[in-house]
């Protein structure tokens, strides 16, 4: 252990400690604010994220450091993922503010819960012990349950929140049960020690496989992989759009890192067991996600099913079980988040009082009304479909390459064929925007922040597609 690290785990935990402090300050300040000065909470939240980012940047980790007796680890991959999470949470806040203001939902709780969810993500990213993993998951999940129910007058939101909470609690229980099985066999909760113990008792140990199965169920639920995907469409549809945007972003990074920390670092020797389970999950997710999305008429539900199919692709990278695959999955997750934030940002940009802009028909003729934003949406849709030269293509390329590299050619073929089915419903969105006549006077209503952000988001999808090295190299550096 590094001698320079003090009793509190500093500087490895600087960012987390800072964020905890900042959340307390924001909570306190928020109590004394009136409705008119609520923007102070918003500004402070953004400042907290900026400060946290500064902490991470000013203490870069060059090699793996573990503190608190191995409970907490800091590594370069964690740094990158944390920075990325800060970015997505900040972008979510920026996208959301206007929507919330217009609907009288501009409350401190939204930002505070968002920050706590970010903290949960960070704890999960740095987890070196199954308890830390669980702590991170719960911190994140409980904030999300509350966020979904955040619009308390909305019946559909309350219903979604209940559904999310009940199913989420079951899945947390399943995960915990799996952890306890691991503990029973290996006698430790420490991920690196579990890895050693698994090697000793052998990957075929029935207790281990039993526990692994429950863990996979838990991970699949957090990801939203079929058949544990039931909550995704309802939660995506029922939540206020800013919350949907939020759930589509940072928690996906959390799910990815959950899989990496537990499966790749703790149970790498059991790859043969979890690979076959993940293959089933991935294939089912890609099939159900892509096929059911075709029948959707609501854009939020469509994007929910699209998420499920993308989860299938992320799992493809994970199930390869090689560093190559983890890198591909990480890259996929990051690009997916960029595209997903953009798509939901588009819904936010189109919505106004009494009009959610979440039906597909609301996008008819947008190419005529707002050519630039229709073009942004076009780029986002083609990117999500995996058509070059947009960034989504490179993500698909990476995971397919990883799968081929471990000899699962049939899986690669299945994946690309299903992505063709997926292309259909993204094309349908483009078709509505460009080939159909506008039905009413809708157009992009949002103010400057959302407009700028959305434009940058669309351009990022194009620029990262033409110069994919930027993001690929980052992933390659932290996961050599």
């Amino acid at each position: 252990m590094d001698a320079a690290i003090n009793h509190f785990g500093m500087p490895a935990t600087n960012a987390e400690l800072f964020l905890i402090g900042a959340i307390c300050v924001v909570l306190l300040v928020d109590v004394f604010l009136s409705e008119r000065t609520r923007w102070v909470t918003y500004a402070l939240s953004l400042l907290s994220i900026a400060g946290t980012a500064l902490m991470t940047i000013s203490n870069p980790v060059t090699a793996r450091v573990s503190v608190f007796d191995g409970m907490f680890i800091a590594d370069p991959m964690g740094d990158v993922l944390k920075l990325f999470s800060y970015g997505t949470v900040a972008v979510s806040f920026l996208y959301s503010a206007e929507y919330l203001q217009r609907r009288g939902l501009f409350k401190g709780e939204y930002f505070i819960l968002g920050l706590v969810a970010l903290l949960g993500t960070m704890v999960l990213i740095s987890a070196g012990n199954l308890l830390t993993v669980y702590l991170g998951i719960e911190l994140l999940s409980l904030s999300l349950y509350a966020l979904v129910a955040f619009h308390r007058d909305s019946g559909i939101a309350a219903e979604s929140a209940m559904k999310y909470f009940v199913l989420g609690a079951i899945s947390s229980g399943t995960l915990l049960y799996g952890f306890s099985m691991l503990y029973g066999v290996t006698g430790t909760l420490q991920l690196d020690e579990i890895a050693v113990a698994v090697r000793e008792v052998g990957a075929g140990n029935i207790g281990l496989v039993f526990g692994l199965t429950f863990i996979i169920v838990g991970i699949a639920f957090k990801f939203g992989a079929v058949p544990f995907h039931m909550w995704i469409p309802d939660v995506y549809h029922g939540s206020p759009t800013p919350v949907t945007l939020f759930i589509g972003a940072a928690p996906k990074i959390a799910s990815f890192i959950l899989a990496i920390r537990v499966l790749a670092e703790g149970l790498q020797d059991m790859v043969a067991s979890w690979q076959s389970m993940l293959i089933a999950l991935a294939v089912l997710s890609m099939i159900i996600g892509n096929v059911v999305a075709i029948a959707q008429t609501n854009l939020k539900r469509l994007l929910a099913y699209s998420t499920i199919s993308h989860v299938g692709f992320i799992l493809l990278g994970v199930l390869a079980g090689t560093n190559d695959g983890y890198r591909a999955a990480m890259y996929y997750t990051m690009t997916y988040v960029i595209m997903s934030v953009g798509s939901f940002g588009m819904i936010l940009a189109m919505s106004r009082e009494g009009f959610e802009a979440d039906r597909l028909d609301d996008y008819k003729g947008l190419g005529r009304k707002s050519p630039w934003f229709a073009a942004v949406m076009l780029m986002l849709m083609f990117s999500t479909a995996g058509v070059p030269p947009f960034v989504g293509f490179w993500a698909k390329l990476a995971v397919i390459g990883a799968v081929l590299n471990v000899g699962l050619s049939w899986l690669a073929v299945v994946a690309v064929l299903l992505s063709v089915i997926g292309a259909f419903y993204y094309l349908r969105v483009v078709k509505l925007m460009y080939f159909d006549e506008p039905t009413d006077s809708l157009s992009v209503q949002a103010g400057g922040t959302v407009r700028t952000l959305l434009s940058l988001n669309g351009l990022a999808v194009l620029a990262l597609g033409i110069f994919p090295s930027v993001l690929i190299d980052v992933c390659a550096r932290v996961l050599p």
Binding site: G367, P371, A375, F382, V387, P388, P389, F393, L397, I400, G401, L404, N405, S409, A412, V413, V416, L417, S419, V420, A423, F424, L427, R428, V430, K431, Y434, F435, P468, S469, I472, D473, A476
Partner: protein, 509 residues
């Protein structure tokens, strides 16, 4: 031969930059926009002729090569270069696009800026497809190309445009995704000491077992056969052609279809020679079915554009036939000259079909702009009102049916000659095109152009204006020039084709 400036990059990025400029200008400055589009495409064509002038006809090596690192983690290169196969196709692309711009000059009223921008961006991407030496770059451009075409058909197309464009997109997308799996697979096979490569040349050198080759060949076959298109995966083409605006049909027929043929010559044949030799019967039979059966199908069409679309499929059958005769010629007769002749024929047929089918679609466009109908029965006796137009239409119809002294003759003749050396029955079936092609094309001409004036619409026709005259005149000159004196084209191809024949007949096993 090489310049000290990156000529191929300029050819790719100049039109794309022009397209982006047009999008930025928007529909407010339409008049300026048209001139920008024309100027950009004309300059692009001007620059592309430098490729021909400075082309070294003594070597089969890639020329005007540019190589830059693109994605270092995947060792993908931004690598461009041309040889005798890709150079003529690039010039064809640069030649046809300005004509499309001129043809749409006053016709396109809906969002003209986006219309021209789509074509300009498409031009850059298409040139990039022909110039790529890196398989990943090739694939990216190959797929990216679908987006502007999807938009062109979908926005400016006919009544059933949405159905046609989604069918077009999904069909070609489905065809090419499996190719992507193959490309990645080969990329992983090239890995040597941690250094992998997407270079097409490395793929061509890569030793592959017969089973690997068969899988890879099938994936290539799907991608390129859909694009060519070969029977039975041709069904997207008539729909796309019928619904596309004139310019879209022209680009589709003149250049996009050629990418299938180019893909066979650049990828399928050299990378999987043994699988190609094993499965050449399949391609040859499908090509002959295309020539004969689709020829009959063309005969019964009621819609002018559909008729030309089917005639395109039949003509492209010659391209695939000529390319795959090689194995039979070499293995049975050891006939290297015949094999080279087949590929020469395929190439000439591609260029010629690009000019002729493009011209035919322009002719239909001229009529459609006036009468707004593509039905053959809506016309009759057009010659009485449009004598100049009729002269052009008859010339292109002759070229389409393969009359000597037009470019249509050269390619078909070479392929038929070559198939004679392989098997009499191939030549017999392929030769039927001379009857069928003449039948459906001349019957079309007879019903539309000749005869008494059929109705009031035809009576109200006015002859071609100077804009249309320029487009048709330039195409007519090109068709005649290539038909009378194809030597310049054959000369630039010769070393490449000879090298290709050697390469694709050397077994990898």
């Amino acid at each position: 031969m090489s310049f000290d400036w990156p000529i191929l990059s300029v050819l790719i990025w100049l039109p794309i930059a022009g397209g982006i400029l047009m999008l930025a200008l928007g529909d407010r400055a339409v008049a300026a926009g048209r001139w920008i589009a024309l100027l950009t495409t004309a300059i692009t064509f001007g620059i592309s002729t430098l490729l021909y002038v400075n082309f070294d006809t003594t070597t089969a090596q890639m020329q005007f090569v540019e190589e830059h690192s693109w994605i270092s983690a995947l060792s993908a290169m931004y690598a461009l270069g041309v040889d005798g196969i890709s150079m003529p196709l690039i010039i064809l692309t640069a030649f046809v696009t300005p004509l499309v711009v001129i043809a749409g000059w006053t016709v396109i009223e809906k969002k003209p800026a986006q219309y021209y921008a789509s074509f300009l961006i498409l031009e850059g991407l298409m040139i990039g497809v022909f110039a790529s030496l890196d398989a990943l770059l090739f694939y990216v451009l190959w797929e990216a190309m679908l987006i502007p075409m999807f938009i062109i058909i979908g926005i400016w197309g006919g009544p059933r445009r949405v159905y046609a464009t989604i069918k077009f997109f999904l069909y070609t997308f489905l065809g090419s995704v499996l190719m992507l799996v193959s490309l990645i697979y080969m990329y992983l096979q090239t890995c040597d000491g941690g250094q992998c490569s997407y270079a097409i040349a490395d793929f061509q050198r890569l030793p592959l077992s017969l089973n690997e080759q068969l899988f890879i060949f099938v994936s290539f076959m799907l991608a390129f056969a859909v694009k060519v298109p070969m029977w039975p995966v041709h069904t997207w083409l008539p729909d796309a052609h019928v619904e596309a605006p004139t310019g879209g049909s022209v680009i589709l027929a003149a250049i996009m279809l050629k990418m299938g043929g180019y893909g066979f010559l650049r990828f399928a044949l050299p990378i999987t020679p043994d699988a190609s030799s094993k499965l050449d019967w399949l391609v040859i039979s499908l090509s002959l079915i295309a020539v004969v059966y689709i020829g009959f199908v063309a005969l019964v069409q009621q819609d002018m554009k559909k008729l030309i679309a089917y005639s395109s499929i039949a003509h492209m059958g010659f391209v695939t036939l000529g390319s795959f005769l090689v194995y039979e010629l070499i293995s049975v007769n050891g006939d290297v000259r015949g094999a080279a002749m087949g590929i020469d024929g395929a190439m000439v047929q591609m260029i010629s079909h690009g000019l002729v089918s493009g011209a035919m679609f322009f002719c239909v466009g001229v009529l459609y702009d006036r009468v707004h109908s593509r039905e053959i029965s809506a016309y009759g006796g057009v010659v009485n009102k449009m004598p100049i137009f009729a002269a052009f239409a008859v010339l292109f119809a002759m070229a389409n049916s393969g009359l000597p002294a037009t470019s249509g003759f050269v390619g078909e003749f070479l392929v038929i000659l070559s198939s004679f050396r392989a098997d009499f029955w191939y030549a017999f079936l392929a030769g039927l095109t001379l009857i069928l092609g003449a039948a459906y094309t001349l019957w079309l001409v007879k019903r539309v152009i000749f005869g008494p004036i059929a109705n009031d619409h035809v009576a109200a026709l006015v002859d071609v204006n100077s804009r249309e005259f320029i487009v048709l005149g330039i195409l007519a000159l090109a068709v005649l020039a290539l038909g009378l004196w194809p030597a310049p084209l054959l000369d630039v191809m010769r070393p490449t084709v000879e090298n290709l024949v050697q390469q694709i007949t050397a077994s990898k096993l």
